[in-house]
Subunit: 212 residues, 2 copies
């Protein structure tokens, strides 16, 4: 694993998963090497940006021959914890929670969902694609015993803050938050707020403007 | 509606929905006015960025008294097509498609989902929260007749490109793409690719790094 010797800017961290998706796809199609120039054309970013972004992680190998695609994807998998893996729980077994429980993309990023929690008696005791739905009062014990580090929040917004606090207190390190609550917690707890509606509004703006 | 007299940068368009969420919440809590300074503290951005972002849309009113919260939210609703509304279809009635069909946030942004399309005989003819699931071969006629402008893509990735092409040809203006395919189409068609796994990888990176 490449040693990180400088703090990586947030924007760079956010771009790496996109490089990863492209490189995985190229790798799947049998491609072994790619130059920063070719990757730049493929992805619509400049070659110098690619080189600069990669430089935060040691550069990912010689540019003269192009990048070794498998090497770079494996390095990113190490850096992003895909190789080591993470254990997650989903709080809220509604439609979105169930959709995420079934989502192969999560597994492909090294995250294993080990349980879902809900308050509804009709849901508790059932399972979703093999993932058990358990009552909320078992949440703390489960998270502690299973050393769960990620909580995926898909519960109604009124309970988000208090549930997140309980999860933090039993060892959750990262929240993937799909609720409309803008969750904030001091480090070292990390939060990714996914605001789907912001993305939809952006799309609506663009098509409205275009139609004017 | 404030007339847009200069091209608004993409980053600014992406920040507006976040301002909107905060202002809506403040409005719901009975607040009438807020200064850029107070909003800046609330949101963790600088006051000058807020003023600069708003300046692309005419400034949203006098800063001396602070912003009139209801006025700004209404202006944003006009600019972002929330007021006028949009009609959408969901392609793919799997877990994610059904989750989105049930998602109140979509309605709150002025987008009405009028139908879902799928190839599965077990799903066709049923409905999800009152939204009918229809066969794929009815898609083009439905979109044309209902003047649908947004397609929400939650179908398996192998068919995404061809289905998107069919949708574009019958008048879809914007794609909200949840598939792993990085959809690209020439303007005026607009695309919002939602890569949930990128967000998850970012979170995993942050908690991995923190644990090192």
């Amino acid at each position: 694993m490449q040693k990180k010797d400088k703090k990586v800017p947030e924007v760079v961290i956010r771009r790496l998963p996109r490089y990863y998706r492209y490189l995985k796809e190229l790798n799947k199609n049998g491609k072994m090497r790619i130059s920063s120039g070719a990757l730049s054309k493929e992805m619509g970013v400049t070659a110098s940006q690619i080189r600069q972004d990669f430089s935060y992680f040691g550069g990912f190998g010689q540019q003269g021959y192009g990048y070794n695609i498998q090497y770079v994807t494996e390095e990113i998998e190490n850096l992003f914890g895909v190789t080591k893996g993470h254990s997650a729980v989903i709080i809220g077994a509604g439609n979105l929670g169930r959709a995420l429980a079934n989502y192969q993309g999560i597994k492909n990023r090294g995250v294993t969902i080990s349980a879902m929690f809900d308050i509804s008696p009709e849901k508790i005791g059932k399972d979703v694609s093999g993932i058990p739905v358990m009552p909320m009062d078992k949440m703390e014990d489960f998270v502690r015993e299973n050393k769960t580090d990620i909580a995926i929040l898909t519960l109604p917004k009124d309970n988000v803050t208090s549930v997140a606090e309980r999860l933090k207190n039993c060892g959750i390190k990262g929240f993937w938050n799909f609720t409309s609550v803008e969750l904030e917690m001091p480090e070292p707890v990390m939060i990714e707020n996914v605001h789907l509606t912001d993305s939809l509004m952006t799309l609506a703006y663009k098509i409205s403007t275009d139609l004017d």
